[in-house]
Amino acid sequence: MPGTGRWGYTGRGMSGRDLTTRRGFAKAAVAPLFVPASSLGLGGATPPSDRIAVAGIGMGSRNRRNIQEFLEAEDARVVAVCDLFTERRDQAKQVVDAHYGNQDCRSVRFHEEVLGREDIDAVVVGTGDRWHAVMSSLAAKAGKDIYCEKPFCLTIAEGRQLVNVTRRHRTVWQCGTQRRSNPGYEFLVNTIHSGRIGELHTVRLSFGATGGWKQNSPAKPGKAPDPALFDYDRWLGQSPWAPYSKDRVRLWRLNWDTGAGAVADMGPHFIETVQWVRGDAHDAPVTYEGEAEFRDEGGINNIPYWYEIRTRYRDGLRLYMDTGRKGLMFIGDEGWIFLSDTGGIEARPEGVLAGLDPPDANYNIQGPHVRNFLDCVRSRQQPVSDPESAHRAHTIAHCANICLRLGRPVRWDPTAEEFFDDAEANNMRYRTMRAPWRV
């Protein structure tokens, strides 16, 4: 049964598309350009030569979910796991070894021990946000293909730099925005394209309740653990130096130094869908305005935990983002359709869905996205969530964040990738990384 059990989640595995079957895969895998590193005789203990050798970097709960999908893929083999936490990497190795019935999975502390191996074809990056673009860049330069979690960049400049790096190195890079390959989302897009809600004029993306994003802590400095057990300085990566604090590590998503905030965390998933509906993955709204609330009583949490963002594309389409019930609502002049993040699809009037059979659209359906990546590793085509498209989707989230932080409207030029006549906002497109880390 795919997608169950070992990591303690109840995902749906690799079901849902013909590409996940042997026959479907055989059709998709005919492109002869990819030669697995293991078949070159470059490595040591290697998997069968027709399998893509994969390593996981950053083995927290999210990447354990990702790696499970790669374990289920018959044309891939997970050969190494890497994490700064000893406990996490050892646990990950146990799961991989249990799956294959051997002890072959290497468990390493530093990414250099993965990227330096010529028998590894691809890496799955599931580190903290601050490491995503940096690790992707290092992996691309090491000749690896990459499946990378979102948000893949902390700033607009990081995103653009990574697009350039992947182009230069001809890297197959997929953003971990798995909803882009979800059959339910495809159904949503097709329904809108069929004209059942009339002419689309407004999209409302709701990223869910504020609870988790409202956590806070003074993050009192404490004694850093033994680096052999958890390497805090390496964990910080590009982020400005700060003393170790258990809560800084635990709540890293809630601080701009180490995370990208709630809008950039969920935004890329839903924004990619909006761009998909529009048929232009490289566009962006040109105006942004909104309101936000911050935990201004003090503490490590300095991101907005509540927000309402209103943006508008050049053609007039309104794109709103807020903290409402998690899902996407597309509103046309003849009706609306709502896709809940837990998978249900609703519409009004009821005739919008008449005669249709909406598939499950649960966010946790990830197999098709991993399948798309593995197929592209072989074909050398770019996956559906390619670097440029992902960068553009992330840019919209970052523009929204900048608007909220400035507390005023901003105007964005998607072509020049700069804010109109706004030096302050433009300064915020880039952030200096702590040496030696860079994209």
Binding site: A157, P218, A219, K220, P221, P240, W241, A242, P243, S245, F294, D296, E297, G298, G299, N302, R405, L406, G407, R408, A423, E424, N427, M428, R429, Y430, R431, T432, M433, R434, A435, P436, R438
Partner: protein, 135 residues
Amino acid sequence: MRREEIERTVGKLSAYDYGEPTTAIFEIDRLINQSHGDPQARSWIEDALAAVIVSGASLAAKQEACRRLWRIGTDRSLDSLRQLLEADDPRVVAAGCYALGRRPSAKADKMLMATVEKAPAQCRPTLEHLIEDRG
């Protein structure tokens, strides 16, 4: 917006250290947001942030001052930033680099080039990193 009010609000940052309440930081952010379109108030804020940088404040306070200069800094605060860039602690140098970011400034470029030549070995990578990024 009065200069005294700005100096009082920004001045609170001098007492900040890691793990302490960050209320003063949020107050400064509010001040910065409210002063949009008011170049006089912005220059007073920049001066007050620069004063924190050259004071005996903690590294945490100086980092926070630099985060604000990253947004609103101009050549006006460069002389104060020079003190951070010339420090022998890479963490202090990194704070100064953060403030400069990619903000276009020939004067900042010149200052960086002059500083890196004299920088101690442990700080040079941080400066070179930014110089390369600024192109």
